[in-house]
Symmetry: C2
Subunit: 435 residues, 2 copies
């Protein structure tokens, strides 16, 4: 089951194989320099265009629940009422949030895309990621747009997966087939990730013919169990969105099979997002079982993966299991749920560390849990001469997770939350640079 | 108003001046070596004894809301029903949480303290802080107890404030006088700090005669606005407690004046706890105004000080104000409150950065906010040759805070939350060591 990568090329080949474009779509990218309005130093931006051969009625999208929503989110919500969507225009570098001209700037870009593709501006979905508070350079984007249009091609989403990145170390794409059709999704996101609707940005393309009325509830349900069940740093972005487009080129043989494939693609892509999170040394997968309410189980799992003390202990390969139980107790105590932590069984890497109301720690158990942490580590870090920390690899060496299970007897719920540790690399990424 | 300290001795003199013992109490400490049951390496533990000349009926205590409560918390809750309390016995190094014998171990210690002081074991309040999951070495504590008893003396709480520390860099004590009487409190706590009842451990002694019926609601109210309004890392400990004892030696002239003094002592001590938090470079004080419900204001303030992205940006003296608004929006959006972030005004260091629905960022504002961050920094860090980060000072050079204000027009609420940034020193403290 475990997948390992020996080097960056092996991982690139894997992403390329996953990035197969479904029928009926083309993608194009371009890169340009501009001077942001807020500073004097030039910056570089990638523009990515995803285009359906024919605008489709079968599209779905879910957006961040952050009450401060970016202009693309505000516009995207309106687009849901449109009959058809034919293109998605994506920029990195600036997230277009909270500026006075944000919506007008994004609409100007959509207008230009519509003209270039000969579709209505209202059939263009905008998406932005990057700095919050800066203005979208709509004129520079419109100038650069022909470069993206002329590069449009079918066959692969690999360049698009690369171009939408910001602090991501590597591109992320996942694919699955159902009958003769295909679902392929790409995502970006490495910080400000606790999606409360979707990861930073994820785009799902399928040639399977799934009508809008089925696609929309299905996407919402799948996102809730995948992208909404991950957290890198508990910070829900202002710009999260997942957009799904169906070109309808291939008849869908089985809606249930489609939903399962959509779930698999989204679950694997969501885990990719965590694995490539800022400074992530370990992916932590928490399974919470036997809790009366799924919402409680989700909160308990989130509390564990968001606890700075659990995160730092995992980072240090330190089997500090007391911090896991403390996070469980903090959550239950604050909420006042009738759920007794003393009845819980806590296991790490399959080894019970708390059971029957007490910790069952021995030097032997400690060694086993430590070995599990070492086995699931992506890399060990070392500061450079300036005291800065950078990830030494630009690919995930393996896909193993730190497995934490918290279970109560009796109930049937089973919720999985995927999070990450907290490292010097996260601090370097977010504190050691000056904006 | 600002207080600065040029070196450790200046700060020690300040703590000594604050640690004046109210009449009617004595304190003693001792230190000993023992071998924990779970490992083979010897460890050192401090034992601290706070004793009232006469057991008092006038005592109050508030405890953690973590559903996984330590044995001292379980016992302390029972002690509230006792007629009198005469002593508090405190150990560091092991928090006595989640072991099969925890309550019996703590009661054995209380029994020995009662015998040594000739008071009932039920008049002894236990308190423990340190590793979760290890057994309390009750026999070694009982053996060391005579050392603490023989050192009992009146006059100062300075040695006790020192002895209760774990990862704290320096002792914390605060005092205030009302009429001819005095309130003095000491606290420890530097990690796993988001008290949901009290900080890790805080002890308030007063010679003012305040009856139990007045003292208990007053302590609960004051703790809610002080210790319960701080967060270092969002992790509510399993062992938090605040205990207040009155010796009744001085008539209390005015209960309202006493409550105000109690608030001032607790507020200053709570801020001391944050300032001495693990790896703290900046204390962040968030004032939230104009929110219909105080609970919403508290949640918004907590979300800002607990956002890893806000914390790391502040650590880096980076005026990344977008992250502050994103944290506000995340909280409001997840809760679904009818509160519009676009109506909010956000200021940092007194400078408006978001108003009238849009960011008002300019290079000049950016410079002013950056200067405020630099001015409020406690120290800048530098990794050593091994890539480990240690605080270069063992005293707080000043008491300035990063001031963040989020306000809506109209309503009268005004909630203050005190938190801290997130630094390499926090990661070194919690990940770079192996347990």
């Amino acid at each position: 089951m475990t997948k390992t990568f020996a080097n960056e090329s092996e991982h690139q080949a894997f992403v390329a194989a996953q990035a197969v474009m479904p029928q009926g779509f083309r993608a194009g990218t371009t890169r340009f320099e501009f001077v942001p309005a807020e500073v004097t130093k030039p910056a570089k931006m990638n523009l990515t265009l995803l285009v359906a051969d024919e605008p489709t009625t079968n599209f779905a999208a879910v957006f961040t629940r952050n009450a401060v929503a970016g202009a693309p989110v505000l516009i995207g919500r309106q687009r849901l009422a449109q009959e058809r969507v034919g293109a998605i225009i994506i920029n990195n570098k600036i997230s277009n949030v909270g500026t006075a001209t944000g919506v007008a700037d994004a609409e100007a870009v959509c207008h230009a895309v519509g003209q270039a593709l000969n579709i209505p501006a209202q059939a263009v979905m905008p998406a932005s990621t990057g700095v919050i508070g800066w203005r979208l350079p709509s004129e520079a984007i419109v100038q650069a747009l022909p470069g993206a249009v002329s590069s449009l091609s079918a066959g692969s989403l690999a360049s698009a997966a690369q171009a939408i990145m910001t602090t991501d170390l590597y591109p992320k794409a996942r694919t699955a087939t159902v009958g003769g059709g295909r679902i392929t999704a790409i995502a970006k996101g490495a910080g400000m990730i606790e999606p409360n609707m979707a990861t930073m940005l994820a785009f799902v393309l399928t040639d399977l013919d799934v009508p809008r009325a089925a696609l929309r509830p299905m996407l919402a349900e799948v996102v809730d169990r995948t992208f909404n069940a991950i957290s890198i740093d508990s910070d829900t972005s202002t710009s999260d969105m997942v957009v799904a487009l169906s070109s309808g080129k291939v008849p869908c043989p089985d809606l249930a099979a489609f939903e399962q494939a959509l779930h698999d693609v989204c679950a694997r892509l969501a885990e990719d997002v965590v694995r490539n999170g800022e400074g992530v040394h370990h992916v932590i997968r928490v399974t919470v079982k036997g809790v009366p309410e799924a919402a409680w189980a989700k909160a308990i799992g989130k509390a564990i993966v968001n606890s700075p003390l659990v995160k730092t202990a995992v980072c240090g390969n330190d089997p500090n299991v007391g911090r896991v139980l403390a996070a469980v107790g903090k959550t239950i105590g604050a909420a006042g749920w009738p759920l007794d932590p003393r009845q819980a069984r806590v296991a790490m890497g399959g080894h019970a560390v708390f059971a029957n109301g007490a910790f069952c720690l021995t030097p032997a158990i400690d060694d086993l849990v430590r070995a599990h942490l070492e086995d699931t580590e992506l890399y060990t870090s070392k500061g450079n001469a300036e005291g800065m920390f950078y990830a030494p690899v630009k690919y995930p060496p393996h896909d193993r997770c730190v497995e934490i299970e918290v279970s109560w007897p009796g109930h049937a719920t089973d919720v999985v939350i995927v999070g990450a540790d907290l490292s010097h690399e996260y601090v370097t990424e977010n504190a050691d640079y000056r904006s």
